[in-house]
Symmetry: C2
Subunit: 184 residues, 2 copies
DNA sequence: TCAAATCCTGACCGATCGGTCAGTACTGTG
DNA sequence: CACAGTACTGACCGATCGGTCAGGATTTGA
């Protein structure tokens, strides 16, 4: 029996490095050491394979957003969210890379619309009260920049581990940008 | 005679919206009102069409970097660069979208390697002296976030014009992040 | 006016893709 | 042993893609 986890990992790596459209099922199969037909035996389609490969990342982000709730934005809740978000980014670099860089191109795939809904929730959570253009832009730059930076930092080399220094630096910068009321 | 400018504009729009791999020459031809063979009469290949479509954006960024020089980073030079960079982003949203989201996928295309070299120059220009991890991360977040935010803000709807308010807000935020010595 | 150059197109080609299918090998169970 | 279910594969199919080509239409210029 084939290792479905290894199959999903191979798909995630290839989809992030070469893009969903630029990756053939045959190449994923080759990387995992099975035949193309075998891949399609375990996953009913290429799209289903992508959905399965990024599924855990989507669920992790959903849980993070559920935990923080939809209520009004407390100062402490924001800090908690930022730290959880940074952890999510560091643990799901490849999936985040796919979301960030292929969102528009793959807008017709169900799984991508699901990811879009999560981004929408984050935006609402952070911007509910603030109407100033400067704050909107700063929030967008902070979240988009952090996600993009981590997702694209060496997709192929991937040397940086879940470095604790990087995580703490990110926490500091993002809290400074997203929770301006926080003591400085 | 076909309007080569319209052809390049159609290609730029489709490549940004659907991705280079997800866009067929036939669709670009249809959008421009000509035949597929006619497109390939004016551009020797799909890759050459992409290079031509993003060419002016690349040249504009090259000139910006040449103007600012490679010498040591003066405080005023940084401000000038930031404002020029923001203007570049606002004037080349579609090309920036392609660079940001398809850099890895299209790494084998000559024009993409040229764009990569420019990103490298920007990084060197801003980080020459500073070795602190926090500053590296903050610079990356600021530049990447601003570029990503603008490039992906409504690729299809594209309602926002070169809004003067957006430009000034961006200048303020980026100068605050990239030129910390600046008066506040 | 006429020939050369330019512009443009439909028809075609080989390659690649996602997906199907019939059949084989293996494994567990009664 | 017999049988059933699971895992897996090579061969194949229709569709789409980038690119070629021979030839028709249009423009140019002497």
């Amino acid at each position: 029996m084939a290792d479905l986890t290894a199959l999903k990992a191979a798909a995630l790596t290839e989809f992030a490095a070469s893009g969903y459209l630029g990756t053939s099922i045959a190449r994923i199969a080759e990387r995992a050491g099975v035949s193309k037909a075998s891949v399609l035996y375990h996953f009913e389609s290429k799209e289903a394979l992508l959905a399965s490969a990024v599924g855990s990342a989507i669920e992790e982000l959903e849980h993070l957003l559920d935990r923080v709730g939809t209520g009004d934005l407390g100062l402490e809740e924001r800090k908690v969210f930022v730290e959880g978000f940074v952890q999510f980014l560091l643990r799901n670099r490849l999936a985040v890379h796919i979301f960030m860089n292929q969102r528009g191109t793959l807008a017709d795939l169900t799984v991508m619309r699901r990811a879009d809904a999560l981004i929408e929730r984050i935006a609402q959570f952070l911007m509910e009260r603030t109407a100033s253009l400067d704050e909107h832009m700063r929030f967008g730059i902070a979240l988009g920049g952090a996600a993009y930076l981590l997702a694209n930092a060496g997709v192929l080399p991937g040397p940086q581990p879940d470095d604790i220094e990087v995580r703490e630096s990110l926490n500091r910068i993002l809290i400074g940008l997203l929770v301006p009321e926080a003591a400085r």
